[in-house]
């Protein structure tokens, strides 16, 4: 039990490297990734999640109610330049749209209700194998 706890807490990176690799490889122009680059991308993603959460909480309205809300996040994506790549104008919920060959044609932003769509600016296609 002790071993299990310490293993979990002290792990250098908590996101699964295998999943990060799948996402990276879904980009068609990427042929191979060395282990250091994979590790760094996973670690960077963790830092990004923490930064995005902390920033949105600090600058958001939910703070008054001790909460982090969806609108705090979409506000960040719209207002903060660093997070602009997330700003699909309206929201940052991204949904991939695939054609019959299972290629992702584009990523769509959709509102929490799922009714309003807008095209996300990342236009690269990624193949799903």
């Amino acid at each position: 039990m002790a071993a299990r706890l310490s293993g979990g807490e002290n792990r250098l990176v908590s996101l699964p490297l295998s999943r990060i690799r799948v996402i990276m490889k879904s980009s068609p122009e990427v042929s191979s990734i060395n282990q250091d680059a994979l590790f760094l991308t996973a670690k960077a993603t963790e830092l990004f999640v923490q930064y995005l959460a902390a920033y949105s909480y600090k600058h958001g309205k939910g703070k008054e109610k001790n909460a982090l809300t969806y609108s705090d996040l979409s506000h960040t994506a719209e207002e903060c330049e660093t997070f602009q790549f997330l700003a699909g104008i309206y929201s940052m919920m991204v949904k991939p749209v695939c054609n019959t060959q299972n290629e992702i044609l584009l990523l769509l932003n959709y509102s929490p209700t799922g009714h309003q769509y807008s095209v996300y600016h990342w236009t690269g296609t990624c193949k799903l194998h």
């Binding site: 996101l15 999640v49 969806y70």
Partner: protein, 143 residues
């Protein structure tokens, strides 16, 4: 390889834990906020990969390396990540090197005295297996 769009998602339980680490205790994180952050993280991976790949292409290399990812961070205006990333990479490299050497030692021992496995090495293996199990548990709970 990604077979379904869901394969581009990151495990919710892990994402939630990371978010909690960044916020004061007791802050309530709405379900929509979690999901939005998780999707943002996937987009971040794609964006970083694409930027890193541009640096690799400029260098006429086919394999993304650590330098490409660090350059990508600067390009993406996440300079603040560069120093902590370099530190983690140092630790990671040491860890990997240690594992490799432990494996070599093990092979040597296996050759000479097959029965007499060191207790320490067995424990190491158990830890790794447990980590994997823990990961699976988390993913299952959330799906």
């Amino acid at each position: 390889m990604a077979e379904r769009p869901e394969d581009l998602n990151l495990p919710n339980a892990v994402i939630t834990r990371i978010i909690k680490e960044a916020l004061p205790d007791g802050v309530n994180i709405s379900k929509e906020a979690r999901s939005a952050i998780s999707r943002a993280a996937s987009v971040f991976v794609l964006y970083a990969t694409s930027c890193a790949n541009n640096f690799a292409m400029k260098g006429k290399r086919k394999t993304l390396n650590a330098g490409d990812v660090l350059s990508a961070m600067e390009e993406m205006e996440f300079q603040r990540f560069v120093a902590p990333l370099k530190e983690s990479l140092e630790v990671y490299r040491r860890e990997q090197k240690g594992k490799k050497e432990a494996r070599k030692d093990k092979d040597k021992k296996a050759d000479s005295e097959e029965q007499d496995k060191s207790r320490e090495e067995e424990n190491d293996d158990d830890d790794e297996r447990m980590d994997e199990e823990e990961q699976n548990d988390e993913e299952e709970v959330d799906n």
